[in-house]
């Protein structure tokens, strides 16, 4: 193993395997995760996705193969040191109920013995980032928060010590669809802003396609297909992948990957009373609007409300570039 090769990947699995009671849960798993990549592990219950995630921070110790973190074998770190360099977020039950929001978020910085003033500033910064007004939420206890707010705190706590990697185990699984979508948008934004390497486990294909820069589909502890959301949708490796992404919805899911701006014609808009589309809407949302309004084209505006052009129904049918 050369140093240069090792530095390419933030996390690298080399033929990793894990068995529980003689039963292989993960087998021959190889995957290199580049810095800044948003990797989503997806699969049915029992596919080994959660086990795979937990092997990264040694909550589960792997039996076979090697796992490298920043080029170094993870067993060469003390488990606690390794974990403090990796944010970890799970379903909302993971908040410490006897601590305020502030102390929950401060957990890892405290373990790392940051000075109090720096911790306080960091908590403020993170509450702002997660859109929880610091003065209101700092002193609250988890039970005083809604499910979505608890999950925001969970994410803030995982990010607190500015870790190299963020590991998320079905973080939005217990949330209602609206809150879940809001938090998914939030995660996309945080990923864009921070450029963190994120590994997220989910069983929700829409979440995977929405968030992942790479989606890894697992079944019986093996990788079935790994690729960008577009690759999975356009070239599903086998029937299992097709089933998982929902045969009937493949076209719609492809549309959901692109925004109105990508297919819009920058032409003057004929006077129209129809409610305009936003250039940042997905094509799937645009199609839905076209159908609901019975229109063949709709005006498009940008965030400021300035007209940008029109989206034609016919342009949605063209094959993905």
């Amino acid at each position: 193993m050369t140093a240069t090769r090792a530095m390419d990947a933030m996390i690298e699995f080399q033929q990793v395997g894990k068995s529980f009671n003689g039963q292989a849960v993960v087998e021959d798993f190889s995957l290199a995760i580049a810095p800044g990549e948003f990797t989503v592990l997806i699969g049915r219950s029992g596919s080994g996705k959660s086990t795979t995630l937990k092997m990264i921070n040694r909550l589960v110790e792997h039996d076979r193969g090697k796992i490298l973190f920043a080029g170094q074998e993870i067993r060469s770190f003390k488990p606690e040191d390794l974990r403090r360099r990796m944010g970890y977020a799970i379903q909302s039950t993971g908040l410490f109920p006897h601590w305020t929001v502030e102390r929950n978020i401060a957990c890892v910085p405290e373990l790392l013995k940051w000075p109090a003033a720096r911790i306080r500033d960091r908590v403020t910064e993170l509450l702002d980032l997660l859109q929880l007004p610091p003065d209101t939420y700092r002193g609250r206890y988890p039970h005083q928060l809604s499910g979505g707010q608890q999950q925001r705190v969970g994410v803030a706590r995982a990010l607190a010590a500015d870790p190299d990697v963020l590991l998320m185990d079905e973080p939005f699984g217990a949330l209602d669809p609206i809150t879940r979508e809001a938090l998914q948008l939030e995660m996309s934004r945080i990923h864009r802003l921070s450029g963190k390497t994120i590994v997220l486990v989910t069983h929700d294909i829409d979440e995977a396609l929405r968030l992942g820069s790479r989606v890894v589909l697992l079944d019986h502890g093996r990788i079935v297909q790994a690729g960008t959301p577009r690759q999975l949708l356009a070239e599903p490796a086998n029937d299992l992948v097709r089933d998982f992404i929902g045969r009937a919805d493949i076209g719609l899911r492809l549309l959901a990957l692109d925004t109105v701006a990508s297919r819009m014609r920058a032409e003057p808009v004929e006077s129209s009373t129809a409610p305009p589309l936003r250039d940042t809407d997905t094509l799937r949302e645009a199609l839905s609007a076209l159908i609901a309004l019975g229109a063949t084209r709709l005006p498009v505006v940008d965030a400021a409300g300035t007209p940008r052009g029109q989206l034609h129904l016919a342009d949605l049918v063209q094959t993905a570039a």
Binding site: D81, Y88, I90, T93, G94, L95, F96, V108, L111, R157
Partner: protein, 240 residues
Amino acid sequence: MKGHRWADPLPWALLALVGLTWGMPTLKPLFAAGFPALDRPMYEQDSFVALMAAHIGLVAVSSAVSVLLGWAAGVFATRSAGLAFRPLIETVVAMGQTVPPVAVLAVAAPLIGFGETPALIALAIYGLLPVVQQTVAGLSSVPAGVLEAATGLGMTPFQRLRRVEWPLAWPVILSGVRTSVIINIGTAAIASTVGAKTLGSPIIIGLSGFNTAYVLQGAVLVGLLAVVVDLGFERLMPKR
């Protein structure tokens, strides 16, 4: 706490306890009137202050031993290394509770001799069960997600125990200590049968000599002590 401050029972119970411990001899005319058949209506072999101090001392030492041993056993039984021992620990401790303290005293006295030591041993063993039981119950009740988060964020096993598990289990653990101490306050009275001076002395002597006044004097003080300590524990319980 709700209600008027005068409605708080703890200061009143404490006042009664202190007042009766020091003032019992002044009630001699009262007991003489109540029990005219008795030659000696007031227990005077020892002062009630000395008996109270001895009783509290015996309970304090035996409870401290129960609590420290019980906490250690409870923590051990809930660690991954000790999980296998959990049924064994619970069985042994439950047996300790099944054997009546009088029997422990009866066995201990010929082996160790009379006095404080057998009493201490019997009380410490007897008070162990509620402490172990509630320590295990409290630590086991910490949600799995919280434990996983604590470990996943990088706490060492000790940090996890001290910062997360113990505080979350504390109300349940404290209720075990409370039960143990209250039981020991009552049971310590029996220790007078092996020669330890406690508030049980007037009771035992009163019972064997048909002196109801003695029994009453000892019993009232033991009862009051239990009430005061119990109210004190209630004060310590975290309010939720």
